[in-house]
Subunit: 233 residues, 2 copies
DNA sequence: TAAAATACGGTACGCAGTACCGCTCGTGAG
DNA sequence: CTCACGAGCGGTACTGCGTACCGTATTTTA
């Protein structure tokens, strides 16, 4: 007859009632009553009705912030890709709880919006990190940081949702693959000190119209040249 | 002594009070009183306190949906880039109102979250459009659609926020440039029927490590080859 | 053992949003 | 002219979230 801590009992009661009646049909009084506690106690453990569903978003965000702060990766994008994996692992760690939450956010617009707002905070964190890391205050670099952050988050969400829907058996491998895709979108400028990073000649044939390729090539070449001083022929 | 319509008076009163006391310090009773109307009338014109700030997000979303539905562009990404420009133009059209809203969303977390949720709806619309357009149900294509939609939205937001902050004098030109950046990230597969789209040989020199380039090149070549049957050497 | 910290319950309040009812103008049909 | 009807507005009352404050019991620490 041991008593689980109040916080746990409240969460259990809440999810049970959400499953039975739905989120909006459940009041906080209902939850407290089912948990055998007072209404005041609920708010002592959770700031709002929504927070019982997203209990540790703040904590996770801080975790990611620390991870980035102490990160020592070769490029900003790799550091962010690495950090975002922590988020995925956190969800996977929650297991069934994450799936129940997904079921709720799929049905209740208010919860979906809340989830989206949380994700946006990660994206903002990433964007600021990348921008700081690049140290380049130009408008072009700023846009690039924005695109990078958005892509990483989108890739993560894509894999996460697949896993939440039960469409993925190995989400960690998938997120690695997805991050490779993102890294491929944003080729890293070469570090000049790196040995073996000399001039390289690449030739390939393609059926694509040259115009379709040009912007990508120009971008690659420009960024390589900016760092190493090679000439574009 | 002409009387503006109630809806307008309510909006004016609301923004005036938000400026004076802040959003959270203003109650709906305050707004109705200042407008010389009853509280009931407020809710007859606006579903919530937030909606007086975002009055026509739904309408704009439908506008974009229609635009996409009747779009006849060469690629999905171009169609979406075109549609997203409508959003930017809408904001620019609002002029000072958009800037006042931005000032509010910058300060009030609840409003920022709401704004983000609205943006996410555009992104979802774009993602679905792109996925449908590609018609390719593979996981890779799905991720690609996700990345495209996220990038277009991120680029738009970037330009929009610059304009809202008064950092941009020609946002339309900027969004066009930003969209070119996004298009460059996702090279379009060549249409085989297009004349002049034969085999092209490209050679260039770069200071980058070949490994850094390889994923990008592979992606370009694969997609070109898939369509036109050229061989990669 | 006294005091202080911790955890819980209860009451009361402010405000958002909903439901419902009643009033007053038009405006057009008979 | 009058009656009916619909549109726009106001008022009252209610539910429910979230906050503030106070009182009480149990445990911990000095």
């Amino acid at each position: 007859m041991s008593k689980p801590p109040a916080r746990t009992r409240l969460a259990d009661a809440a999810f049970a009632l959400f499953d039975e009646r739905g989120y909006e049909q459940t009041t906080i009084d209902d939850i407290a009553e089912r948990a055998g506690l007072g209404r005041t106690t609920f708010f002592r453990h959770y700031r709002s009705k929504e927070e019982v569903i997203f209990p540790d978003h703040d904590r996770l965000l801080e975790l990611i912030r620390d991870r980035l702060a102490t990160s020592s990766h070769s490029t900003a994008l790799v550091a962010v890709s690495d950090a975002v994996r922590l988020v995925l692992l956190h969800y996977i760690d929650e297991g069934d709880l994450a799936r129940r939450r997904y079921a709720l956010t799929s049905k209740v617009a208010a919860l979906r919006d809340r989830e989206i707002a949380s994700v946006a905070r990660y994206q903002r964190l990433f964007r600021e990190f990348i921008a700081d890391w690049m140290g380049d205050p130009t408008e072009s670099a700023s846009l690039r940081a924005e695109l990078m952050a958005a892509s990483v988050v989108a890739a993560h969400n894509h894999v996460l949702r697949r896993w939440l829907r039960g469409e993925s058996t190995d989400p960690v491998a998938e997120v690695d693959e997805a991050m490779r895709e993102v890294l491929a979108l944003f080729p890293a400028p070469a570090s000049p000190s790196e040995p073996g990073a000399g001039t390289t000649i690449v030739a390939f044939r393609t059926g694509q119209n040259i115009d379709a390729l040009l912007p990508s090539l120009r971008r690659l070449v420009e960024e390589g040249a900016k760092q190493s001083g090679t000439r574009v022929t």
